[in-house]
Amino acid sequence: MFYIYCPYCEEYREEEEFHPKGEAHIARPEDPDNCTDEEWGDYLFFRKNPRGVHHELWVHAAGCRKFFNVTRDTQSYRIYESYKIGEQPSVSA
């Protein structure tokens, strides 16, 4: 059971208040009209899916309903940090 810190509520809450939303920091293509199919496919579907440190999006669904980022190890399940959208992680693989 995760105990997750919401950087907006500034509180630790139980996992069930949150929904995971997958890999974080996936930037929408700058010039969508001129993307190749390959670039669109990469953006939409291809993921790092690391075994280890993962930067991921969560939403505080049953709380403030804001999206934020979490750095978490996908093998040990240790959570390193939560940080707001637009901020950069301090822990990386």
Binding site: E15, P20, G22, G41, D42, K48, P50, R51, E56
Partner: protein
């Protein structure tokens, strides 16, 4: 290979069952193989078996970091069916189902394939429309499939709450009589034994730590225990670890790894002689030959490689089962475990060439690949032997996520199974 038979059993009884041959050898790795299969789950083992038996390619090794069948193969709830919506997947799963039907004979190993039928329940009008559509599509593809009403469902499963008072009343179901369950370990062991007899090396406790690529072509693998092993072709069949292997070769996959869990109860007397699945309340259940209820859950939504599931998911699953079967409310659960499933955005597998020459991947089976084990191995062996996708495998290229030809099976694969 020592052939198993009733007579053999009697004969070995005379020597107190002390002289049975080893089921497979424990060979030393050769420096080079024509084909290396990474991953000794059901799919990898089936691939090796068909490479040897159908294509005569016997200089093959299966490299498994743990023990054979110790991944999702030995952790799944063993539901086998082929009632998928789209032609591409229906053909693939039906190909597998046909192979299941003769598998125990072919392998001379009892995989305990039991065609006890599978119900996919509908609880809303939209469920029923989807079921009708899927059943019609199945029938056009020559797959046995029927729509049942509430009354017929109740007759098949007397202990299920089919009353209109249920919180999510059962309005009907799809029914595939040829579907059922099989013994998961036996499938791995049966394929391993048959492949070994044809000369394939099973290398257990042999973890691949790197894929060797020269000028865009794979030339072998680096292993933790046995150093470098060269190969003509490499086939990766590592389920939840596919992303890890792809990274070794320098590309990404449209796959994310999630924990999926299951649980079994204490053994009880026979009470459920078919398989019940519900997308809507999200649970699925059957009863094993030992008598335990085998219950499957949904995936945990986050990426994870720890082979365990979360507590909230157990709670939701058990709620769903008790909702459908109030009679089971006081059955005690014995064991719970998790596997790491390789989910793909369109809920269909990837059987494919890759950006690296002579390197092939068979993955993305996610929550529902056990049923496909024989078919997956069969088409992947052909793909490896020919060096290009077999007819049935063609639609499942990883490059469909670039050209957009996705095969959306979220409906038929809706509940993890």
């Amino acid at each position: 290979m020592q052939k198993y038979s009733g007579f053999g059993l009697l004969k070995h009884a005379l020597s107190h069952h002390e002289n049975w041959q080893r089921v497979w050898r424990n060979p030393k790795p050769k420096p080079r193989y024509d084909v290396i299969i990474v991953g000794g789950g059901g799919h990898g083992l089936a691939t090796a078996y068909y490479l040897a038996s159908v294509h005569g390619i016997t200089n093959v090794a299966v490299l498994e970091k743990g023990y054979l069948g110790g991944g999702n193969t030995g952790r799944n709830t063993t539901i086998v069916r082929s009632n998928y919506l789209w032609d591409e997947s229906a053909h693939l799963y039906e190909h597998a189902l046909k192979l299941w039907e003769g598998l125990s004979q072919e392998l001379n190993y009892n995989v305990m394939f039991s065609q006890r039928g599978v119900l996919n329940l509908g609880h809303t009008l939209q469920d029923m429309r989807d079921i009708q559509r899927r059943v019609s599509a199945n029938r056009l593809n020559g797959i046995d499939s029927e729509v049942l009403d509430t009354q017929q469902v109740q007759e098949l499963v007397p202990v299920m709450d089919c009353s209109p008072n249920a919180r999510y009343p059962i309005l009907g179901s799809s029914w595939q009589p040829r579907a059922g369950v099989a013994r998961h370990d036996a499938v791995a062991w049966g394929y391993a034994r048959a492949a070994d007899a044809l000369g394939v090396d099973m290398l257990q406790q042999c973890e691949v730590t790197d894929l060797l690529v020269e000028d865009g072509t794979v030339t072998g693998v680096e292993t933790r225990q046995h150093g470098t092993i060269k190969a003509g072709k490499v086939g990766c069949v590592v389920a939840g670890n596919s992303g890890v292997l792809a990274k070794m070769a320098g590309f990404r996959l449209p796959i994310e790894s999630h924990p999926l869990q299951a649980l079994v109860s204490e053994p009880i007397k026979p009470v459920l002689d078919t398989v019940v699945m519900s997308n809507q309340v999200h649970g699925y259940i059957s009863q094993s030959d030992k008598g335990d209820l085998v219950i499957g859950a949904g995936i945990d939504g986050y990426n994870g490689y720890g082979q365990r599931g979360s507590y909230p998911t157990i709670e939701h699953t058990v709620q769903a089962i008790v909702e459908m079967f109030p009679i089971f409310s006081r059955v005690r659960m014995n064991r719970q475990w998790g596997g790491i499933v390789d989910t793909c955005p369109d809920a269909c597998p990837i059987i494919s060439a890759t950006p690296v020459e002579n390197l092939f991947f068979n993955c993305g089976w996610g929550t529902g690949g056990f049923k496909a084990t024989p078919g997956s191995g069969h088409v992947f062996a052909e793909t490896l032997a020919r060096g290009e996708a077999s007819e049935l495998a063609k639609p499942f290229s990883m490059f469909r996520f670039h050209d957009g030809a996705l095969i959306d099976e979220h409906g038929a694969a809706g509940v993890a199974h």
